[in-house]
């Protein structure tokens, strides 16, 4: 096993130790970070690896959350089935929306993803009989065998670790390499014989699949969902967390999520000006550390190695 893999195993074991503290605060924060971290990493498959700026990733997160919750509450489906179906619902939504979005490039692509996510938000907001409209869906119960903070934490940890394992395999595969060449230079990639649009669409679907998994977890975790999780501030937030952690590193988005969620919890207990502080952090970041936290650490390592 490589050194990086040992390190990852160690970190996973440390994280798995969180419930032993029996602190409800850390279990809650840990679960939240795991879920949102997965969401950010799935977004980064598009942003950092394929070079597509999706501004509407909340849509697939929301589709996952609503599908899982509705199947459990309205169709009486058991949690494992509902959970699996919701992931595929996310991929399907991404396929349908992606077919349109990948026809455009750059800012037009970003705007179209935003437009579609707002359409899905509007459906969730207005379709009272199904989604509960603005009131959302409340009282989504944990399945009985996951009915404690610690148990749900372990379940989330298992799902997230497995998802990250698969995603990491994918980005390090020949398929993943093709995505990075598309990010670097779509025109050139086309002329090494690659159907760029098809690869972009695949990337879009895989990203939607894992965003939906994160969304489904999120709905159960909070016992409730509201249309807000589909709307653009949610999409923007995950984008910011990804940039904060660094989009050219696989774990960057995860690190960004952890830092931001922890900071937000700490800062909001002192002051109500969290958006102001977040805005400041973001501007500093974009000016001085365009590679995010992980990019900065990597530069530091290269620099110190160069000095020896």
């Amino acid at each position: 096993m490589s050194r990086q893999n040992w390190l990852l195993l160690l970190i996973t074991l440390l994280v798995a130790g969180i419930p032993l503290t029996e602190s409800r605060f850390y279990i809650f924060l840990g679960t939240d970070i795991l879920i949102m971290g997965l969401f950010a990493v799935s977004l980064n498959l598009l942003l950092g690896y394929t070079g597509l700026v999706s501004f509407g990733q909340g849509a697939y997160f929301g589709v996952g959350a609503y599908t899982c919750a509705l199947l459990m509450k309205k169709a009486g489906l058991a949690f494992p089935a509902a959970f699996l179906v919701s992931a595929f619902a996310g991929a399907l939504a991404a396929l349908i929306i992606g077919v349109f979005c990948i026809r455009l490039t750059k800012i037009y692509f970003a705007m179209l993803t935003l437009a579609f996510s707002q359409i899905i938000w509007a459906i969730a907001f207005k379709w009272n009989s199904l989604t509960g409209g603005d009131n959302g869906i409340i009282g989504i119960a944990f399945p009985p065998y996951l009915d404690s903070g610690a148990r749900f934490f372990y379940f989330t940890l298992a799902v997230v670790v497995l998802s990250l394992y698969v995603l990491r395999k994918v980005v390090n595969s020949p398929f993943g390499r093709m995505l990075t060449t598309i990010r670097e230079n779509p025109e050139r990639t086309e002329f090494i014989g690659i159907n760029v649009k098809l690869f972009q669409l695949m990337s879009f679907m895989i990203s939607g699949f894992f965003s939906a998994i994160a969304g489904a977890l999120f709905g159960i975790f909070n016992h409730s969902i509201f249309p807000d999780i589909l709307s653009w501030p949610q999409s923007a937030e995950v984008l910011i967390m990804t940039l904060l952690g660094g989009m050219y590193n696989f774990f960057g988005p995860f690190v960004g999520t952890a830092v931001m969620l922890y900071l937000r919890l700490q800062v909001t207990s002192y002051t109500q000006y969290w958006p102001l502080i977040m805005g400041t952090i973001l501007s500093v970041l974009l000016f001085f550390f365009p590679g995010g936290i992980m990019g900065f650490l990597q530069d530091l390592r290269v620099f110190s190695r160069g000095k020896k």
Partner: protein, 246 residues
């Protein structure tokens, strides 16, 4: 005959960049397209490789009608291309640049769960050796010198094992020495692999030294075609070129 271009035409907002050009290429032929700036050379390349759709006319490559095919399809039929502005994958290493092209060529793009690193290491290194970049395999390609980037681009084009190679100004912006080396390299590879070569070039010395046939493009039309000797003494070509430089 490997490529046949028939009355191809392209208009941009009322400006006719390529106006009914017809020619064909024999196998293993080295052919140059020359012409003053704005003659339509790059547009013609973009039409042949499918990067922009033709308004009229037909294109046939190795017996297949490629008039309406997407670039990736045309590439897979065996056409390789380098671009006028250097076109590489800047944040990837030199090795990764070539390896990506080999992967694409061998149709391994949809392999999802195997690590990419060991794929086609041998083939990739062979190409790197061929274009003289073996020692730079682990260098980030964006930080290479301009001349090396051009060589890398040639390597990317070769990785898809093309029968026809289109080079758009392969020596643009190079020093005299770099130009000399690049031309030597291109000539060597084309002979060795039995490639058909179609290229555009500003450097007349290069054009006359390596091409067997020359096409002269002027204002979107083909005004002359022949051996280097013929072209050199063609009064119309002289007029076009001298008229431009004086």
């Amino acid at each position: 005959m490997i490529l046949r271009v028939e009355k191809v035409k392209k208009t941009f907002d009322g400006f006719t960049a390529v106006n009914g050009v017809s020619f064909s290429l024999e196998e293993r032929e080295t052919c140059a397209i020359i012409g003053p700036n704005g003659a339509g050379k790059t547009t013609l390349f973009n039409l042949i490789t499918g990067h922009i759709p033709t308004d009229a006319g037909r294109l046939n490559f190795k017996g297949t009608d490629i008039t309406h095919l997407a670039p990736h399809r045309i590439c897979r039929l065996g056409m390789g291309r380098s671009f006028q502005r250097t076109n590489i994958f800047p944040r990837l290493t030199v090795f990764e640049n070539i390896q990506a092209a080999v992967l694409a060529h061998k149709g391994k793009g949809f392999t999802f769960f195997k690590p990419v690193t060991p794929f086609f290491r041998h083939e990739t290194m062979e190409i790197l050796e061929r274009v003289g970049l073996r020692d730079y395999a682990e260098t980030t390609s964006g930080s290479l010198s301009y001349g090396f980037q051009k060589q890398l681009e040639l390597g990317i084009a070769l990785a898809s094992e093309p029968d026809l190679l289109l080079l758009d100004e392969p020596t643009a912006g190079m020093s005299a020495q770099e130009t000399h080396q690049t031309i030597e390299l291109i000539g060597c590879i084309t002979r060795e692999k039995g490639l058909t070569l179609l290229f555009t070039e500003h450097d007349m010395e290069v054009v006359f030294s390596i091409s067997q046939r020359i096409l002269v493009l002027y204002q979107g039309r083909l005004i002359a075609e022949g051996t280097p000797e013929n072209i050199r003494h063609n009064p119309e070509v002289q007029k076009v070129y001298l008229g431009e430089t004086r």
